[in-house]
């Protein structure tokens, strides 16, 4: 071996190569650390000024430099939860249909079309929402909801179209592909004999899906849902374009709201004053931490089911 090694330039180039590639790999980790560092240091000013009160206060007053992020946190949570409530049943239905019910030939095209939904940029969803969804909501859906469910207090007020409901619906459309593609992956790793066993006991197809498939895939499906939640929490453009952008906490879903991501999109480039900028970055840091935790949790859940195969949230 020794002479051959010598012939090919010795061990040095190999070491250099390994070192260089390791550096590239390390830079991925470095990138994450850099993100945390930048967000943490640049939000320090706001943290020192407001402390924990920042997350409990509802006043957002750049002129007097008083900042509280609660309306944005509220808006982010409500719009995301609303999106999940709409998207989860749909996404699971689509996944069940593609894996368990539809003819094999239809499987490929169907999943392609659903994935196509994931490829549409956020800003185009927003554009469509402004000119199609919002008029539809204000003209038909909201008057109907107000008439039938107005007594709950969730569907009160003038039907402008723009507001929390529109944001929740557009978010739902955007997260269906993620939840359904992960659910599909998870359903596909449920062993075939589980299905056959349940069918042999005399179950109908739905009973087989419920007992043999969905119950086995629970953890992975939950992972997919949480991944969808992570996406919904951080989604910016489409929400900004239809949510109304008013830092208010209202019970009615017809009312305008504001999310953490949208306030960054709208006010960041115009933020004058260090405290203002720092407060916005603190919102960014909070959003980052929440999505990181949510995503890590989802990855772990999906991993336990698919055993090491990566979950694909995007693309």
């Amino acid at each position: 071996m020794a002479p051959l090694r010598h012939l090919s330039g010795g061990e040095i180039p190999d070491r250099v190569f390994k070192f260089a590639m390791s550096a590239c790999g390390l830079s991925v980790l470095g990138l994450l650390i850099l993100i945390v560092y930048e967000l943490a240091t640049r939000s320090g000013l706001s943290w020192h000024a407001f402390g924990f009160r920042f997350f409990k206060a509802t006043d957002w007053d750049p002129v007097n430099e008083q900042f509280g992020a609660l309306p944005f946190i509220y808006g982010t949570i409500i719009s995301s939860v609303l999106a999940l409530m709409i998207a989860v049943p749909l996404a699971i239905g689509v996944a069940v249909f593609t894996t368990e019910m539809c003819p094999k030939k239809l499987r490929g095209p169907l999943s392609f079309f659903v994935e196509l939904l994931a490829a549409i940029p956020s800003v185009i969803y927003g554009l469509w929402a402004i000119f199609v969804l919002v008029p539809l909501l204000s003209g038909y859906v909201q008057p109907f909801l107000a008439k039938t469910l107005g007594w709950t207090g969730l569907f009160e007020g003038p039907p402008y179209g723009i507001g929390m409901l529109a944001a929740g619906i557009i978010l739902a459309i955007m997260i269906v592909p993620i939840i359904s593609s992960i659910t599909r992956e998870v359903l596909m790793v449920v062993p075939q004999h589980q299905r056959e066993g349940v069918l042999a006991l005399g179950a109908t197809r739905w009973e087989m899906i419920r007992v043999g498939v969905l119950r086995n895939a629970r953890a992975g499906i939950l992972g997919g849902i949480i991944l969808g939640l992570g996406r919904a929490l951080g989604e910016t453009m489409a929400v900004t374009m239809v949510i109304g952008n008013r830092p208010e906490i209202a019970k009615s879903l017809f009312a305008p709201g504001y999310t953490m991501a949208s306030v960054l999109a709208n006010e960041f480039s115009e933020a004058t004053g260090d405290v203002y900028l720092s407060a916005l970055i603190e919102i960014g840091l909070a959003l980052f931490l929440v999505t990181i935790i949510v995503n890590a949790l989802a990855q772990l859940l999906v991993w336990t089911v698919t055993r090491g195969q990566p979950a694909r949230g995007h693309a």
């Binding site: 180039p13 590639m21 169907l110 554009l127 469509w128 951080g234 910016t236 693309a315």
Partner: protein, 293 residues
Amino acid sequence: MPETRAAIQTAVPPVSLRRRVTDRFMTFAAVATVVIVLAPLIAIFGYLVYRGVGSINWAFLTQTPKPVGEAGGGMANAIMGSVFILGIGSAIVVPLGIGAGIYLAEFGRNRFGAIIRFTGDVLNGVPSIVVGIVAYSIVVLYQRHFSALAGGVALAIMMVPTICRTTEEMLLLVPQALREAAYGLGVPRWRTTLSITLRTATSGVITGVMLAFARVAGETAPLLFTAFGNQFWNFHYDQPTAALPLQIFVYAISPYDEWHRQAWAGALVLIVLIVTAVAAVRYVVRRGSFGTA
């Protein structure tokens, strides 16, 4: 034995009406969800084509924006600006991402590799607006103004996970025997990795890069306060630059009909670029030697 068959038939009672109805209903419900999910997809594409095709013309593709109130003008500078920013981003990230992918595939079959892999997945979930803040904080604050470079850095950060992950997957698909054959001939490891493994996986790696492009080409949020936008041509890396998604956003929320028209045209151009890329990638992955990917 007819007696046993009869015994089995009596032992297994017929499926009750309630169970049969539930089964039918659930099948119907699943089909309904597919229809409900595909409806917005068709609505979005239909409306996009309907509004977009009517608004695209030669001027749209070749001219810069006209001032408010003047008809005509286009998004040529924004289209080229997007290409420019993407170019800067990929110049930064492609070597780095492929390197990280090589590390994961060739040296990272251990605990540290698992950490890097997990980090990549976590990065994948970082909201794009937060990436914008980071690019602002590491580029714009030092340059003291918005720039194409800052936009490129933001997009580069967003592309890392996709490129890194697909490169790894594609390299792992290269048969181990190829590597061993090269080692057997006395080819050093670095040479084997670059000229044999990476070379064999080239089409797959390019696929990954294209996927990353498709993913970030439509990103608006990270460009809002990095590239910022520009009404004129710009090819200076340290000056504010227009980008197609930014222009669509600004025009969409404006009160002018003419701008709305152009937003739809821009959206159509953007979606055609992205869908072409995704479809091409799908085609290559299916037909190429990496069918199992």
